[in-house]
């Protein structure tokens, strides 16, 4: 038995961002996306021995929703685990299974349909009933407070409109972005309409294996922050900083070597703060970076379509498309190294960072 941990590669990928497609039930949406990912990978389904999922009961509107959704993602008579966590976290867990020698090929899938559930109501329910819940706080309002804290710490908002514009242009040009429909939620000060995500129906699937292919997982890092918002330094994402450091250290290079960075952020400000957290932009300059630097969220980020908890996996798929040279109109030339992030409740409490390299 070799002492070296096996490398993990990403094979097939598929993403579906739409809105209220009544022709497909949730399970049919998941199936069609997973089927496309399996076909894209070009390997027989018989070689898949693991299915790792990210989905949430309250988003799906079913308790133990993986009973019906798991089989749609290929779980029949396979080892399947569903995380009620972000898609990038599930991706990390799937990677450990291959590294542990428990699996040789795995499907990883994540989904969420904003058109099927009340996004704000579920988000409100993530906050505790005693100390925060009574004020009706939800994820967007927590993000607004984070933005305000960042501004107070010296964050430069001058490039804010440009950043929003660049993002909107990217989303329009991205072949995979939401084409019609969707919903933008209400903005709370200091956030504005242009900072808001575009809620959509998102389904993402991919396959990973120990068999070499075009994109290698160079590093994975995860971390977390305290539960109470009041215990955190809200103007930055310390957990994301730590997760990125771990992932980049494992990859063996720094942020300056990255060609593409796909940051999962609920709002424009979260994307900007995230760019600072992973070391791409200096503290306070995240919005300016997002407005000007072509490496940052070429997909259009949350403007291309957003629904938790699928977004970390969506960011990974966009990064993979860049490295495979298949990103289309938004292709970053000669992209060889990419970083993707996924953050999850409560109010970006836990973080996963994945660093990828073209082989």
């Amino acid at each position: 038995m070799t002492d070296k941990r096996p490398d993990v590669y990403i094979e097939g990928i598929a993403i579906d961002i739409g809105w209220a497609d009544a022709t497909r039930s949730l399970t049919e949406l998941i199936f069609s996306t997973t089927r496309r990912a399996i076909d894209d990978g070009g390997k027989s389904l018989d070689t898949v021995d693991s299915v790792v999922l990210a989905a949430h009961d309250m988003v799906d509107g079913r308790s133990l929703s993986s009973m019906v959704t798991g089989p749609a993602a290929g779980a029949y008579l396979r080892d399947e685990t569903r995380y009620s966590d972000d898609g990038a976290a599930a991706f990390a867990a799937a990677v450990t299974r291959i590294e542990a020698g428990e699996s040789t090929r795995s499907i990883v899938a994540a989904w969420a349909r904003a058109s099927e559930h009340d996004v704000e109501a579920v988000a409100r329910a993530t906050f505790d009933s005693f100390f925060a819940g009574p004020f009706g706080i939800d994820e967007l309002q927590a993000a607004a407070m984070r933005a305000q804290a960042w501004i107070r710490l010296g964050g430069d908002v001058a490039a804010r409109a440009d950043a929003a514009q660049r993002r909107a242009n990217a989303a329009r040009a991205n072949p995979r972005a939401l084409k019609a429909g969707g919903r933008s939620p209400v903005a709370s000060y200091p956030l504005k309409e242009a900072d808001m995500p575009r809620f959509a129906d998102v389904a993402v699937s991919l396959t990973i294996s120990a068999e070499p292919s075009a994109v290698r997982v160079a590093g994975v890092g995860q971390s977390s922050e305290p539960y109470w918002l009041g215990d955190r330094k809200l103007g930055r994402l310390a957990g994301l900083e730590q997760a990125a450091q771990r992932a980049l250290q494992e990859a063996g290079f720094g942020p300056a070597q990255l060609d593409v960075v796909e940051i999962d952020g609920l709002t424009l400000f979260d994307e900007a703060i995230g760019l600072e957290a992973v070391g791409m932009a200096a503290s306070g300059t995240g919005l300016k970076f997002l407005a000007n630097d072509p490496r940052s969220n070429p997909s259009g980020g949350a403007a291309a379509g957003y629904c938790a908890p699928a977004m970390g996996l969506a960011r990974i798929v966009e990064a993979v498309m860049q490295l495979q040279g298949r990103a289309g109109a938004i292709q970053v030339p000669r992209a060889r190294r990419a970083l993707a992030t996924g953050s999850c409740v409560v109010a970006a409490q836990t973080h996963t960072v994945v660093v990828l390299e073209a082989t």
């Binding site: 038995m1 941990r5 039930s25 299915v51 949430h56 009961d57 309250m58 509107g61 079913r62 308790s63 133990l64 993986s66 009973m67 019906v68 798991g70 089989p71 779980a75 029949y76 008579l77 396979r78 080892d79 399947e80 685990t81 569903r82 995380y83 009620s84 966590d85 976290a89 990390a92 867990a93 990677v95 450990t96 299974r97 590294e99 542990a100 020698g101 428990e102 579920v122 329910a125 993530t126 505790d128 009933s129 994975v220 995860q222 971390s223 977390s224 922050e225 305290p226 539960y227 310390a238 957990g239 730590q242 997760a243 409740v345 409560v346 409490q349 836990t350």
Partner: protein
């Protein structure tokens, strides 16, 4: 090769409710006990895996996050319904085997003490398009299997009652169990009928509480008392029970996902003769009929011999001891129950099971069931690492 050992176990008592504890306090209680048992502080922990199943039972969407411990640790929540507790253990073991962690804290929290309409919540696990309009509940779905077992293999209501009474009596020796009822098979048969053939005293209680364990890489075992994870496997079946009824070789009551998991876990553990090599079996059997389906799936007897196997338990001391903890019929904190089964198996192997300790436990098996027996996990733990 076993890389991973359980060196710390912590459990809160399982009760209808813990009104004096917030959710995070329940998590900390179990976690602290596990860490103390392991002789480790939270700083020594590299990764935390949280297991919480139906959010609607707790009434809190991110209740696991309230239990955030330590600073800056990777933290991920698994939700696989009834097998959640075991999925969390398996995920923790993966991180260690992948060399991404040397010590992992896993915990599972059930907070259904906060629920006042839990049956409606359980009903939402079924397909809203085709099945919501029918009285499909955890009880009726077990009843559908129980009647099929009676038709196929000759089980009788008496067999269900004997299993339930055996579990109840065992629970009386487990201070952590929810129920401590001194009941006989006759008491079970006399209790009200819920859905034929299931009577009230056969149904598991609705319990809340938390369970936690510390898993370490073999290099960290040292002088600690380990229960080695010798084999672990998880398998998911199709959703629709109707799809399994006429499936060849693996009907609704054949528990295919459990037998597949058992085969893989036994292969890893080197178990070839389960009925002789397994001393204790902690089964996730929320109903007596679920236990009956587990026996052949785990290789203890054939399906046709099941009724005789139940009858023999009272007299044949060479058979494995089932659910010395009292099992889910003694306490069923749903999100945690599958972890509790592994924890109890580990305590047995480590000779730390108190009044419920069984003699000479070299190897124990713990199972998990989730959904309408759609998800099945098997975990073999032993006093020695397998080679």
């Amino acid at each position: 090769m076993s890389h991973v050992a359980i060196v710390g176990v912590g459990q809160t008592p399982y009760r209808r409710s813990h009104p004096d504890k917030s959710s995070r306090e329940l998590i900390w209680w179990a976690a602290k006990e596990a860490l103390n048992d392991a002789g480790l502080g939270i700083d020594a922990i590299d990764v935390i895996i949280a297991g919480v199943a139906p959010d609607a039972l707790a009434g809190e969407v991110a209740v696991d996050r309230t239990g955030m411990m330590g600073v800056g640790k990777p933290f991920i929540r698994v939700n696989t319904g009834g097998v959640t507790g075991s999925s969390a253990v398996f995920a923790g073991a993966s991180y260690i085997k992948a060399r991404r962690a040397k010590a992992v804290l896993v915990f599972a929290l059930e907070r259904m003490g906060q629920a006042t309409s839990s049956q409606q919540v359980f009903n939402t696990i079924f397909d809203p398009v085709y099945e919501k309009d029918f009285p499909l509940t955890t009880i009726t779905m077990a009843a559908l299997r129980a009647s099929m077992l009676m038709r196929l293999y000759g089980y009788t209501p008496r067999h269900w009652a004997e299993i339930a009474a055996r579990n109840a009596q065992a629970a009386r020796k487990n201070p952590l169990a929810h129920l401590h009822n001194d009941i006989t098979p006759e008491d079970v048969l006399r209790s009200p009928l819920l859905a034929w053939p299931i009577h009230r005293y056969e149904a598991c209680p609705m319990s809340e509480g938390a369970c936690a364990m510390v898993l370490v890489d073999k290099s960290m075992v040292g002088k600690r008392k380990p229960a080695w994870i010798q084999g672990a496997a998880s398998t998911s079946d199709c959703y629709a029970m109707g799809d399994r009824i006429r499936r060849e070789g693996a009907t609704l009551v054949d528990l295919l996902s459990l037998s597949m998991s058992a085969k893989r876990a036994y292969a890893d553990a080197g178990v070839t003769n389960p009925v002789k090599e397994i001393r204790v079996a902690e089964l996730y059997s929320a109903f007596s009929s679920a236990e009956a389906m587990a026996y052949p799936a785990l290789g203890f007897c054939t399906s046709a011999d099941g009724p005789r196997f139940v009858e023999a338990q009272a007299t044949d001391k060479s058979l494995p001891v089932f659910n010395p903890s009292g099992g889910p019929q003694g306490a069923n904190p749903v999100s945690a129950t599958a972890m509790v089964r592994i924890a109890e198996a580990a305590l047995q192997v480590r000779q730390m099971a108190g009044e419920r300790q069984v003699d000479g436990v070299e190897r124990a098996v713990a199972t998990g069931q989730g959904g309408a027996t759609q998800f099945s996990t098997v975990c073999v733990v032993g006093a020695k690492p397998n080679t």
